[in-house]
Symmetry: C2
Subunit: 486 residues, 2 copies
């Protein structure tokens, strides 16, 4: 231990070890290096073999090409500065605001008072009513506003739920592998156990009930008190969109083993193939068929303004809905969210706008639909272009894009490349991703950051960046890399 | 255990016990009841002996009388909907926006890209530079943007810091009593120890170094690993504004005992008596005098857009600055904040606006100053009116208002009242606060929610509500209460 170290209260050896254990590769060393390159380029440096950084490491739509939805932002501009509402004629005739924008802004202001005031801890009641209506219409089953909690993005909802669930160091949560590392990182911080279950790459990264059962059984044998199962649908990083049968199988297993189902459904509108089946709707259908069996299934389903065609992650808005939770447990959840007061109120309003967009026949509908559909088509097009490129690349295998914002191809690297990685103290996929960044300015996340089966290698890339030039850069790099380590 | 209970994964006996232990009275049972009354009134009920709820339980300025600062909100409206910037003539000539509003909006958009995009984990770099400049000007000592972390209000900053500090169940943090219950609640959740030290009511709730030393010594004797000391300056709930000597004494003690100083300075502009002395400036001055002794003092100072004349708590913006922290520890803090991605970007922009408001000579300056000074004067006036009322009330003692948004009077209740409280299973101050709410619609927080010396009783009330009619209601209630329990 250095002298400096012992002169302070805090050093790397005496801070919270569980924070130290947490890993979060999406914004790790690679991302930091990419930001250094970006700063260098901004200062006019010409040393680098590229002139632009492509941040394909993070699902951050508006950092890249995606434009905000006009209706949403017009409403937000009015609720940020309500005196504009006194100039209706200017808004309508000179600034292109439609009457439904003005009406919605007035309604939201009535609902929250001021966007600068704290709301109720779990969100402004009128906004929660809108969310409940949306869920009812989506699923064809009732939803109760009192079971809805507005949160600062889905991440904050996950944090709340895991705080309640993780009771002891033996508590375990089933987490899909590969997964978005929020889950493993949060479980580390909470000193609880991640119980990994592998998704089935051969079946387009679907859930494999046998793999779940096996993981569960093994965990119990090791003394783990398994209390919940996480499902990300559509998948992150995999993009997989689960079939109704897969959803049923998970609920069935949860009912049998008394597990809370945490359904991370933030990509529910990003589905290119198949159809989104919400856990809530499937659960309610099962409960109709067999009330006794499914009566006490506990489901928490999460959604967010960050992804989909909304893409407003900087606003930190989201919600989760609870089904079947014990009221005494819900009281503790309410208290827990109270400690951080409330989710950002502008983000809460954006949740309302997302779940209650302009309807056919309303003045803003046409533009809204055009923007929404345009973003969807653009994502699908870029996903396909990237997929086609991967198909052509030696040693790269990638499933057809199904949804979310990501592709997660397998890469097969030579022994020579694996050896070179080892020399640098990196895993082979990390080594590959650093080389890719250094050569092209494209930042992806190595598969190790999400978890992957032993002896397999992957990386996750978003398909948000515009154009195809950067895809060409990846292709060229890959071919050079394969040649170098042949 | 009921059958229902055992049919679920989660019940009140098997969830995280540390969440259950946490107490957060500011939004507890009293606040919930006040919201029920509010809903009743909104539905037109005339059963209640009052026609309005006064939420004096929470520092929520814009829920009550405080208007947002025009400059801030005009800028936010533009960055929410940037196409408005293409209509400069309309903004300037028909909507009353000034040129500096437009310039700032453009600058902020350049700094963040889109307010709908994630920023860097610790905040957008250009905004952190503004914060550093503000601190430099405030303190006369340099500040480094890399040591600044933008957060979702100060609460989120406290959560981050305590997550790092709380290493084991033996870790202790010195917390002033009375205190804002965020600290005790967070320490409960983290399964760490609150080491309470009493503030000195007789000395206007100043810090009492002897009390701190004694609490520290006692904790160490009990096996507590004391690692940090929290100071709230100006105080919450006390309103006390610390003298420079008090600040020095705390830093001195922290240097000697190797404690992180957590300076919660969110009320730094709400000072009516005396002057705000930032911990950072006092620390840097001490370091000049005696570099050896103070070199390794670790200070985290927190600020927020929620309080002061800004009062934008619904936007969840804040920052903390670190001084003297080990770089390896800072890396862990960076990783921890990365897991929740970033603070709300609109809130980050509001932090920038708060620390860099219009300057003399700039087009928006005059209105800004008028609004800022008007809010300040209004707060002081209401604080004084409330203080005068308390002075006249039997069995109530209250110090002269010094700062923040609160008064924290002592109340002396009769044995008969104490007995009646016991019968209801409540502490006497809780009993009093419930009676006050039921009779007047005024919601305050009993002293027990902040901690108080044994055999003393208090309540905290904000002085944010407009008018004096509600003060009259308190006065009448109090006199009736004293008569009833005489």
């Amino acid at each position: 231990m250095s002298t400096t170290t012992t002169l302070r209260s805090l050093n790397i050896d005496n801070i919270n070890p569980h924070v130290k254990e947490a890993k979060y590769a999406v914004r790790g060393e690679l991302a930091v290096r990419s930001e250094e390159y970006r700063a260098k380029l901004a200062k006019g440096s010409t040393d680098l073999p590229f002139d632009k950084i492509i941040s394909a490491n993070i699902g951050n739509p508006q950092q890249l090409d995606q434009k905000p939805i006009t209706f949403f932002r017009q409403v937000l501009s009015l609720i940020e500065y309500p005196p504009l509402l006194e100039k209706e004629d200017v808004l309508l005739n000179q600034l292109g605001y439609k009457s439904d924008v003005i009406a919605r802004a007035k309604w939201l202001l009535k609902a929250v008072g001021s966007v600068g005031a704290y709301s109720a801890s779990a969100g402004a009641p009128a906004l929660k009513e809108s969310v409940a209506k949306f869920i009812e219409e989506r699923d064809g089953h009732p939803a109760d506003p009192k079971d809805i909690y507005l949160s600062a993005g889905a991440s904050s909802g996950v944090n709340t739920l895991l705080h309640i669930i993780c009771a002891t160091p033996h508590t375990g949560v089933l987490v899909p592998i590969p997964q978005y590392p929020l889950y493993t990182a949060s479980l580390s911080v909470l000193n609880a156990r991640c119980v990994p279950y592998y998704l089935d790459e051969a079946k387009s990264w679907g859930t494999d009930l046998e793999a779940i059962k096996e993981a569960h059984k093994k965990a119990i044998a090791e003394g783990t008190d398994v209390r919940a199962i996480v499902i990300i649908n559509p998948g992150n990083p995999t993009g997989a969109s689960l079939s109704e049968d897969d959803v049923k199988a998970v609920i069935d297993f949860a009912a049998q083993e008394k597990l809370v189902v945490m359904a991370d459904e933030v990509y529910q509108t990003n589905v290119f193939k198949g159809k989104f089946h919400s856990f809530k709707s499937v659960l309610r259908n099962l409960q109709k068929e067999d009330p006794e069996k499914y009566k006490y299934v506990e489901l928490a389903s999460l959604h967010s303004v960050s992804k989909g065609m909304v893409g407003e992650c900087g606003h930190r808005g989201g919600y989760f809905e609870l089904c079947g939770f014990d009221p005494a447990v819900q009281e503790q959840i309410y208290k827990f969210v109270s400690i951080s007061l409330c989710a950002p109120v502008i983000g809460q309003c954006l949740v309302e706008l997302m779940v209650n967009p302009p309807k056919e026949g309303e003045p803003s509908y046409e533009l809204y639909k055009q923007e929404f559909d345009g973003i969807f088509a653009g994502l699908e097009k870029r996903a396909t272009a990237l997929y086609e490129a991967f198909k052509d690349m030696e040693g790269v295998e990638c499933g057809v894009p199904q949804g979310s914002m990501y592709l997660f191809p397998t890469i097969t690297l030579s022994d020579k490349a694996v050896e070179a990685a080892k020399k640098e103290g990196r895993s082979p996929d990390e080594f590959y991703a650093f080389r890719l960044l250094d050569a092209t300015g494209v930042c992806v996340v190595p598969g190790a950051g999400f978890g992957q089966k032993e002896n397999t290698l992957h990386f996750r890339t978003t398909f948000l960046a515009p154009g195809t030039e950067w895809v060409g850069r990846i292709r060229k790099f890959h071919s050079d890399f394969m040649d170098e380590f042949r």
